[in-house]
Symmetry: C2
Subunit: 556 residues, 2 copies
Amino acid sequence: MASDIEIARAATLKPIAEIGAKLGIPDAALEAYGRTKAKVSADFLASLKDRTDGRLILVTAINPTPAGEGKTTTTVGLGDALARIGKRTAICLREPSLGPCFGMKGGAAGGGRAQVVPMEDINLHFTGDFHAVTAAHNLLAALIDNHLYWGNALGLDPRRITWRRVMDMNDRALRQLVVGLGGPANGVPRETGFDITVASEVMAILCLADDLSDLQRRLGAVVVGARRDRTPVTARDLGADGAMTVLLKDAIKPNLVQTLEGTPAFVHGGPFANIAHGCNSVAATRAALKLADYVVTEAGFGADLGAEKFFDIKCRAAGLSPAAAVLVATVRALKMNGGVAKEALGEENVSAVVRGCANLGRHIENLKQFGVPLVVAVNHFAGDTPAETAAVEAYCADHGVEAVVATHFADGSAGAEVLAGKVATLADGGAAQFSPLYDDDLPLFAKIETVARRIYRADEVIADKAIRDRLHRWEAEGHGRLPVCMAKTQYSFSTDPALRGAPTGHTVPVREVRLAAGAGFVVALCGEIMTMPGLPKVPAATRIGLTDDGLIDGLF
Amino acid sequence: MASDIEIARAATLKPIAEIGAKLGIPDAALEAYGRTKAKVSADFLASLKDRTDGRLILVTAINPTPAGEGKTTTTVGLGDALARIGKRTAICLREPSLGPCFGMKGGAAGGGRAQVVPMEDINLHFTGDFHAVTAAHNLLAALIDNHLYWGNALGLDPRRITWRRVMDMNDRALRQLVVGLGGPANGVPRETGFDITVASEVMAILCLADDLSDLQRRLGAVVVGARRDRTPVTARDLGADGAMTVLLKDAIKPNLVQTLEGTPAFVHGGPFANIAHGCNSVAATRAALKLADYVVTEAGFGADLGAEKFFDIKCRAAGLSPAAAVLVATVRALKMNGGVAKEALGEENVSAVVRGCANLGRHIENLKQFGVPLVVAVNHFAGDTPAETAAVEAYCADHGVEAVVATHFADGSAGAEVLAGKVATLADGGAAQFSPLYDDDLPLFAKIETVARRIYRADEVIADKAIRDRLHRWEAEGHGRLPVCMAKTQYSFSTDPALRGAPTGHTVPVREVRLAAGAGFVVALCGEIMTMPGLPKVPAATRIGLTDDGLIDGLF
């Protein structure tokens, strides 16, 4: 089979106006970026507000393993297959970050015959949204240090500034640094650091904002630090919210591209799935729901993190009501969850598959708690044996869920046609009775405990008094109704990445909490969370270049 | 008269395809960014290589003062006026930097009735070129620190790394910092800092590269630091050049926009006029010369810096041969050069104008040294009196140069019609016998001396032995044929910003030299040069916001 990049390059892309027309978007409402990318105008989207929403379908997955699950690939394949069976469909994905592209992850635009294109553009600068987030974030940082320099009229405590800077790069040397060195002309020396752009609260805000005025309100509410008396200082106090909004005025408009099969795809926003909520933008999802009858979207990492935050943060904030969920599993990943090493994945091992299904089973149970009907998609890999696949199907049947093998990676939409039929039936069936896991008025710590007990199946949550005090202070300051954004390892239900399968009896330690008052959640960091990745010994960047024909080599 | 932004907003912009058609650019060769911006495809531009070039006209100015000279405004007005008198014309300008927009400079897209539009887009993210330069620059920086982290196989001396990071922001706190803090996982602690993006060597490279392969060659030649034995380490040694080129593959394509009067304008690239050469890209200038009969461009700061570097760096590197030059002066700026304070500029003061003409006169003499015929444009301000204007005209006549009063700021192209006629005649006359100021094979220090003596009229150039030794080492390493890029204050011929007029007898101290082996010049820093600006006490950012109608307020 050809490589992802070979397949993507061989595709003939339709003009973006033709893709827009499939959703009834008039040419005048498309702001083209080249011939195959466009932003959709805010005025046009605002004009749709009284339309009935289409059906929202979440694609989520078991806990990720190095074996690969193919969540994005399945999202694309399912979307193409829904279009194939005659449904007016749109896909909603996150934008990839530049950092991992030059590190080792490679692109993030699906794979095989289930990709969004133009893949190289999407994986590089695309329409500049991430650069706009970086600029808006760093403008606020510059205004903070400038405020200290000019006399600090707000009385900000330099030691209590929590707003860092961001860069869309894997650059570990920037994690912790001292700025303002070199004498009075260069400002006030203090410790700070850089995160990767996707970890920026501005990114989370962009992805949760209803419109430009909500965007500005949220940006203004960002808490950048505190005075000596612990009272918060916000971006609005610094007068930064207007200029930040101006920098983001185009970035908030959803980006329209297409799949290899010409299905419309909104690729927009990309908040980190650990310290943020890991979903594409509300603006894009709302646009898709107004324009299509079926909207397929995905959320970052496994269902314990991605689906939970999709439901409890994004759907709660935006008033969305998903109609169905698709839980992606692969035989290979189930084997790894069943204790097989990556090197041994090539050998048939039905009992390991069955053991690994414990992970799948818990995600099934968890998704049911949100009242959303689901189907399991077994994303087929070439080496999967019939006996292994049958074991997964049998396990799912025992747990009251249908499992469908899908071969979209190799076969495109034809390979996910059966899956699409089941999903459409499920979404049309009206069985969904969505509700988030906890109520707004539960205390913050109780919200953390609810997720830890009901989703992670932990016995207890532990946190220092300082952390509990901080949560109480935020409650007193009026932030108590916010949802919690859990940040923990994606590899396990627990906080120990080595604990695969379906661990029980574990403890969830909350090491730190952060208030994201603009985004509208409280982050609970459980375990070590990296907000600025590093590059590997041989970075992908050193293999990337242009061929003599002007094609990009080595990116994927 | 309406403000710049009011005038810009009131304009009805033509679709960019219509602007491209004026230059014979087919629709298929335009990569649209929205409806009024486009990049021109590399393939189309390559297809023009055998065409005869149009006539290149440089707009430069006397030494800048707080009174304003209007170099960009005159470039736009002259271009519009050439179009008005029936000439096929294109304008070439630099792209503005985001940093000053949020500081205090405001936009950089002309003014009054002589502007390029869409002004807000051009002043904000535009087509993302600066973000691409930032990303490419910082990718190299990340690869350097990553190389140290993984064992430093190249033997790079962490104390001798000269490659810093960049951000398109005024942020003084980043000028000097220590990275890599927090233990072994975060790399190797070392001192470094950030410059503003326009000061990046990558920006200079983008603006001097012939095409993608020349771009990659230049990026690979960038010297990032040295080993303990002083041997250089390059971006190519780190394997960074390919990925950097990929990040810049779209940025190298010229951006096409329009003036308020619909004249095609290439706005592309923006290297700093102090530590770099301060001209728009060679790619855009070449494209314009192939597509138009008259190409009007400008270079940063006064003629002592901007024109000298335009001739000695850009024209030399690209093999360009300018046909004429326009030297912009204003009565107000001449008065300031004649000793009048900004507060007293409103009063008629003919003798001060005459005194200030010494500055103008020296620029006239200097430009003649390059063999390019010139005309003086007196950019008219409302308060200029007939006697003051007559004094400038008389001075110029005495010096064998014609002076033309132009009112394009208030009147658009009609106000520069006479100027355009004179300039066209001059450019058509075949009088130009362009040659740079010095030969390639002059030693580096002698090149610095040549500029200092012949352009700045200094008596001597002084430099420590360490600086002279460094120049000799670079000569030994094969960089001796590079031109020099002078970095000094723009406010004076000397290195003392307070010395207006036409100072003589001064000394030029070379404080530091830097090798820009990728850009292809040696920077000589004379005096204090700021490569990362700071924000003022009340930054423009705090006044910027969106109005209820979605318009940008406070940006200009």
